[in-house]
């Protein structure tokens, strides 16, 4: 998301670029999935509208998520540190947060797909809505 990689061919070289994922690394090529290229596209779209680099927007998204205390930044250049720190001043609109959330939503798996307000209302609480503590 720092703009180091571009989509390549489908086989042994799924991406081109100069970064940690270009050579030996614990993730191998597992990060270069269709889903992740789609997420990157959405991220570049939002960043393009707002102006800052995509990595800064991705960090601002993480900072905006509930329960997150302090994302760890990794920088191999001073300019990256400064770009990352600037994410603290970037407040994404609800529409942009929603757009990024939709593009990056993980595939539903059991049993988490059951725990929705709609299903709770219809199948658990007899058609009424119940507001829990918190």
């Amino acid at each position: 998301m720092a703009g180091k990689y571009e989509r390549g061919g489908p086989a042994a070289q799924p991406a081109s670029g100069e970064g940690r994922l270009s050579g030996a690394n614990p993730f191998g090529t597992t990060k270069f999935t269709d889903q992740n290229w789609r997420i990157l596209e959405a991220l570049r779209g939002v960043a393009g509208q707002l102006g800052p680099p995509p990595a800064q927007v991705a960090l601002a998204w993480a900072l905006a998520q509930q329960g997150i205390t302090a994302p760890i930044i990794g920088a191999s250049r001073v300019a990256q540190v400064q770009d990352n720190i600037a994410a603290l001043g970037l407040s994404l609109s609800p529409a942009h947060l929603q757009e990024l959330a939709q593009a990056s939503a993980p595939a539903p798996t059991f049993p988490y797909a059951i725990f929705t307000p709609e299903l709770n209302r219809a199948a658990v609480f007899g058609g009424t809505s119940v507001q829990g503590w918190q």
């Binding site: 920088a75 191999s76 540190v81």
Partner: protein, 211 residues
Amino acid sequence: MTLTDFRTLGRSGLVVSPLALGTMTFGTARWGSDDEVSQAVFTAYVEAGGNFIDTADVYSGGRSEEMLGGYVAARKLRDQLVLATKFGFGAQPGNPNAGGNGRKQIYRALEGSLRRLKTDYVDMYWLHVWDTVTPAAEVLQTLGDLVRAGKIRYFGLSDMPAWYATQLATLAQAHGVPGPIAMQLEYSLVERTTEREHVPAARALGLGVVP
């Protein structure tokens, strides 16, 4: 918001910046940075007001801790900074007790980290990776003893199942002893599966999340 809009790490009194500086790049040949650039990265973060710096015993085979320890000592910043490091990944081929989460290994790993960091305590000590075998109670007792001995101030868990963190935190609460205050997890637009178990567990248990 800026780096000096501090917050507590989980339900604790440890006060940190809203962005931590990772130092896995320090001394890493291919994709990281040499000594000069690493020091400039450290200086840029600290001069912008940041106080929360993360390393691990395995980063660059110990070189990351050595470089960081040198920068902190040179600028006399030890009291102002929250230094975090980790144990868990194997350090010696053929020696199973030089890796993992057992008591023998944790004591060994911490001694090495303190030496390389040139300090007599670590502010935040992370279990780097779950070893799949050490009982939660042993990890809790070992890290609690290190808190009482003054060798570490707080501890947390990285790259582990949510149920394991829940077991440690619940045991700690039930026994009124020091418990984990945070989880360190991969979490980004391209890795959101930790939203299912880990983030809700962290909220329920008063743990911060450091992605």
